[in-house]
Each structure stands twice: as C-alpha cells, then as structure tokens.
Symmetry: C2
DNA sequence: TGGCCCGGTCGATGTCGTCCACAGTGTTCC
DNA sequence: GGAACACTGTGGACGACATCGACCGGGCCA
C-alpha cells in the first residue's frame, strides 16, 4: 500500500472501467504493472470495483436511518434485516443504540410498512427510532487519510 | 429501466470491470447492446462504476456514526464536515438528530481528536453523539426493490 | 400503409487485456 | 562481500475486446 496504489484507487473513483493502458501512465507505471497492482488490490479485497446505483434515480424516494435497541444478540437482528432488499447498510454500534440500518423505499408509506411489518416484529427488537432523509449529502467510496 | 438494465446492474455488483462481451450474453444481449445500455445508465447517472475501498484493509480501524444537533443550517455544517477526508458519508435527517455523519479514523484516539477538534467547533453544532462501531455488517451498492 | 424512431444485431478496425520471459533492485544468509 | 532469492516493473506477441457505423425489424401514429 504505497502512493502508487493510492493513485490507482483515486483514479478508480472517477472511472472504475478505465483501461489499464490509460491507468498505467496516469500513475507513472506501464499498463502491465498497473494491471498487476490493481489485480493484487482486488485479490486482497482492499478494493472492489462495483456499480453503485443512485436509489433516487431508481425510484427510491424515501430513505431513512433506523436506530434500533436490541435485547439479545444484535448480530442475529442484523442478519435478519439484511435479508430484505430495502436494507442497504447495517452496522452494529455501541452507544445509545445497538444497531443502525439504512433503508430505502419507494414511498413514505412503504417505509412505514417496512418498519412496522418487518423491523418491529423481529425477535429481540425492543425499540426503533427512525431518521428519515431526502437525499445523501456526501458519499465517498475511498478512505484516504493515510 | 427494465429487467435487462437491472440484470446489468446486478452483474456489476460482482465485477464492475466485466467485459461487454461477457456482460452482453449474461443479460441476453449482444455485446454492443449491453455497452449502449450501460453507457446510457452511466450517462444518466443511474449507476457509477467505482472502486470501493475497505477502510479496515487500509488501516481505518476506528469507525463511528456521529449524530449531530445543529442550530442553524445543517447544510453548512455538512459542507464543512465533508471537507475532511475522515468523513465518508453524510445525510441530513429529520427526527431527534439533524445530521448524521460517518467517520473513519486510524485509531480510537484519532476519532476523539476529530470529534473534539473538528466537529464540535463547527459553527452551529450544539451537540454530538457518537456511535462507534468495529465493522460493517452489510453494505449493498444496489437498491433493487422495484 | 407509409414513415419514423427506438433499440437491437452484425461486422470491420484498431485498441486493449493477458501472459510470459527478462531486467533491475533490495534482502537474507553464509 | 557476494550468491541466491523474492519482488516488481518492462516490453512484446497474440488473441480477445471495445468501438463505431451500417443495417434491420417491431411498435406507434398520422
């Protein structure tokens, strides 16, 4: 993990499908070398080149962060939540909540249904607080503090 | 946005660099047609092919969700927060918090510094609650409820 | 029916990915 | 110090691939 690796990752932020023959020169390497390095980064699961969709553009007008209080093992609850397509993100936290989940639905009504019909009935869920939002302000896919 | 588009997006979840000549047949199309469709989806900003890094694998051992209470315009606070590399995600919410931010740091100590030296001094921030976590349970890049 | 548009296939061309042999550099261990 | 080795980048050859334009067929509307 050196400056060249980081340069590669930075290039992948603007275009994940950039040809190696462009990528190489941009990071000061031959195409072959750039390919080897990116391959290595992918193999080591440092980076993953994927298509990221914008829920808004796909009809997901209603988004919310759900803060859950859980009695029992929060991992079981997270597993159960993740089985639903509406849940795009889940983390186990410490603090005043045990678990946060990010949920995307078509309409506000669907969110209400999801919380009441799916989330609340899950074994161990004692309370749900929802924080609706209407757009993502910032979303970075590269963490680069090093 | 039809079933074929969705199939394309699904393929991009496992490999964003898949050749069009593989992608086409996989979604029941010629390579050219697959290319045209993906190009269109990218142009319309429905999808974005990017390299997504795993903060853990890059030395970001300490992550937290920050819930902020803001007096004034939360957007200004979000703008300011987003100027820092530690912040990978920010949303403006309604509910008992005004703003959530996701933060990645190297060590717990860095998180403490970040909250105290950067977040709290921001104009308008009246309270910060932090929810540390030690790993991401689920992270989906495709929202596919349609 | 005729014309148009959208979205697909097909095929030619030049570019690109892939693989391999080789070279340079730094490290380890007598 | 120097031999052996691992690691990483280079260059080239070959086959696979992206790219683009020409063409084609179905749905739609006058």
């Amino acid at each position: 993990m050196d400056d060249i690796d980081r340069a590669i990752l930075r290039e992948l932020q603007t275009d994940g499908r950039i040809p190696y023959s462009d990528l190489g020169p941009k990071v000061g390497l031959s195409a072959s070398a750039a390919r080897q390095r990116l391959q290595r980064l992918i193999d080591e699961k440092v980076v993953q080149v994927v298509g990221v969709t914008d829920p808004m553009a796909m009809g997901g007008q209603t988004m919310a962060l759900l803060g859950l209080h859980v009695d029992g093992d929060p991992r079981a609850v997270a597993d159960e939540l993740s089985r639903h397509d509406e849940v795009v993100y889940a983390v186990l936290t410490s603090g005043t909540f045990d678990l946060f989940a990010e949920v995307v639905c078509r309409r506000p009504h669907d969110l209400l249904d999801f919380v009441n019909d799916v989330v609340r009935p899950i074994e161990g869920v004692t309370a749900v607080e929802s924080f609706p939002y209407f757009g993502i302000h910032t979303h970075r896919f590269l963490w680069d503090v090093d």
